[in-house]
């Protein structure tokens, strides 16, 4: 089946990002396709390249990047939520005159339409939040 996942909370603050990740990994192991992982609300913070968690803890951002690379996943960070919270790619950096961008590898910033499209194109949508 084609599954899409929505992550509504940031890394570490809530378990949502962890559960979503484990769900994705299990789904892929079972041969399902993950059509898209959409990050909304504070979930956009899963996409910052600048996180430096302690060495003995899981690196949530890096874990998403690695899963995306291994399985060619589409990790989408909502542009409106990202703008509010300061998650920026090169385009957004130029568009808004920021001095830096911070999006992590494997993530892209796009509109809420991507969430609706995921709902239309997928067989199932699962939401992880608080």
């Amino acid at each position: 089946m084609k599954l899409s996942v929505v992550v509504n909370e940031g890394p570490y603050q809530h378990q949502a990002a962890d559960t979503a990740y484990h769900f994705c990994r299990a789904a892929l192991a079972k041969g399902h396709e993950i059509f898209r992982v959409f990050f909304y609300h504070d979930g956009v913070n899963n996409g910052t390249r600048l996180a430096t968690p302690p060495q003995d803890e899981r690196d949530i951002v890096k874990r998403w990047s690695e899963l995306a690379e291994k399985h060619d996943l589409d990790l989408v960070v909502c542009v409106a939520a990202a703008q509010r919270r300061g998650i920026v790619d090169e385009d957004e950096q130029k568009r808004h005159g920021k001095d830096v961008n911070n999006i992590a590898p494997g993530f892209r910033i796009s509109g809420l339409g991507q969430l609706i499209e995921a709902g239309i194109e997928s067989d199932r949508v699962v939401v992880f939040g608080d």
Binding site: A80, G113, L115, I116, G119, I120, V125, V127
Partner: protein, 130 residues
């Protein structure tokens, strides 16, 4: 009987339900969930919005956020009709527990019992919670 919507690229129309269970202003979930509805409207899917528990507070009349200096996004619920999003439901039990009637609300809604909300949920293809 209204004309069938053109829908998304070749006519796929799915039933989307947006579930709102949180009060407005104390957290951003209510505001950002409304943003999904508004952007999603362009995809001409079959949309229902359900207000449960504290979610019913989102559509109360008379909200004035000037003293807390936030944008009063709740006024935008009145625009939903213009976006052809007209299926708004409140749970009877949630309203009664809070001493509210439909006269307290700023948009036209249909009051449904818990069981009716549950049955409506059963018809959905995509259920988004915030």
């Amino acid at each position: 009987m209204e004309d069938a919507p053109e829908g998304y690229e070749g006519g796929v129309v799915k039933k989307f339900m947006y579930v709102n269970r949180r009060a407005p202003h104390g957290t951003i979930y209510a505001q950002e969930s409304l943003e999904v509805v508004l952007i999603g409207a362009a995809f001409e899917q079959d949309v229902s919005i359900v207000f449960l528990d504290d979610g019913v507070y989102q559509i109360r009349k008379g909200q004035d956020t000037s003293a807390i200096e936030t944008k009063n996004f709740t006024k935008t619920f009145r625009a939903l009709e213009m976006y052809d999003v007209e299926k708004l439901y409140v749970e009877k039990e949630s309203m009664e527990a809070r001493g509210m009637t439909v006269d307290d609300l700023n948009v036209p809604v249909e009051m449904k019992t818990s069981e009716e909300i549950g049955r409506l949920m059963e018809e959905q293809d995509v259920i988004l919670s915030f």
